[in-house]
């Protein structure tokens, strides 16, 4: 209910496509070099379970690296991760153009 008792329209956030989620994770990793897992989790706006799935895949597919310094785990962007971000607009355009 709104301040004056009127019904409030709740705007649901549009579900992100997989490419958008990957872009958000990689962008956050690029902006904060050697980002810690907790920060990346918040930046990704994912549930911890989904976050873990995405990060495991991104590490496996070499989009991001795990660096361990003094027992502290951080993430950094790989060359492939940079390429993805550079090509993101092309990917998005391709997928939209062909309705894939």
């Amino acid at each position: 209910m709104g301040l004056f008792g009127q019904p409030r329209l709740i705007k649901m956030a549009k579900k992100r496509e997989r490419l958008e989620v990957i872009r958000d994770i990689l962008k956050a990793t690029k902006e904060k070099r050697n980002i810690k897992p907790t920060r990346l989790l918040y930046a990704s706006n994912l549930s911890p379970q989904m976050f873990k799935e995405y990060v495991d895949e991104l590490v496996e597919k070499k989009f991001i690296n795990i660096d361990v310094v003094s027992d502290k785990k951080t993430f950094s962007l790989t060359k492939k991760g940079f390429e993805f971000l550079n090509e993101y607009k092309v990917l998005e355009r391709f997928v939209e153009s062909f309705g894939l």
Partner: protein, 227 residues
């Protein structure tokens, strides 16, 4: 001599040129979309790429493998090239259609083999059934019918996408390509059933097919252009 007579008089040469063009277009599209797929692991791009991979293989089988069998006087094996052509073209149709509807049928996932995953195996099974039935019944109607159904559904989905996003120019080109493919397969079917493979009608079919591939090439080059 009119255009049709000229083409019919030089039929074999035109067939080779047609095959080379289609195969080249398929190779270019596969290479461009493969790069995008490797970067994104997007399933839609995967199936789109697979479609043109199969188109390329189909035309290689039909026009070059058959040529090799004919040259080597391996005539009993020439039918293998036709069977392979049918197989690859049906797989191409399924892949192209699935690239449009995969989101409604499977969760997004990053890992899976491109050719040996459950969806592709289901397509392969359906395709093998269609091809075997065609061989057993000595008819191409199942092959034609499957392609007409595939491209009819794909055209409807493409139309829905155009209506949803009126401003997307490339989506209109995509719709045009799907409709052309549908027309080509209808012409092919009519040519066999009613016109006893009338040469002029077949030439129209090949021309329509060529435009289909050229539209896709244009679309892929345009969509993958780096600004």
């Amino acid at each position: 001599m009119d255009v049709y007579s000229f083409v019919i008089a030089n039929k074999e040469l035109f067939k080779v040129i047609y095959a080379i063009i289609v195969i080249s277009i398929s190779v270019v599209i596969v290479l461009k979309t493969h790069r995008l797929f490797k970067l994104s692991l997007h399933n839609g791009i995967r199936y789109f790429r697979n479609a043109f991979f199969f188109f390329g293989l189909g035309f290689v089988s039909r026009y070059f493998l058959k040529f090799i069998f004919d040259i080597g006087a391996l005539f009993p094996y020439a039918q293998i090239s036709t069977v392979l052509f049918d197989f690859f073209l049906i797989m191409a149709g399924f892949s192209l259609l699935y690239s449009l509807i995969w989101k409604k049928l499977e969760a997004e996932s990053m890992t899976r083999s491109s050719l040996f995953n459950p969806r592709m195996l289901i397509f392969s099974l359906m395709t093998i059934i269609i091809v075997i039935l065609g061989l057993v019944w000595h008819t191409s109607y199942l092959f034609y019918f499957s392609q007409i159904v595939i491209f009819l559904i794909a055209s409807l989905i493409a139309l829905a996408n155009v209506i949803k996003r009126k401003s997307a120019k490339l989506q209109r080109w995509y719709l045009t390509a799907m409709i052309l493919a549908l027309i080509a397969w209808v012409l092919n079917t009519l040519a066999e059933i009613f016109y006893q493979f009338n040469q002029a009608m077949l030439i129209n079919t090949y021309a329509t097919n060529m435009i289909f591939f050229l539209i896709f090439l244009y679309g892929v080059i345009r969509a993958t252009k780096v600004n």
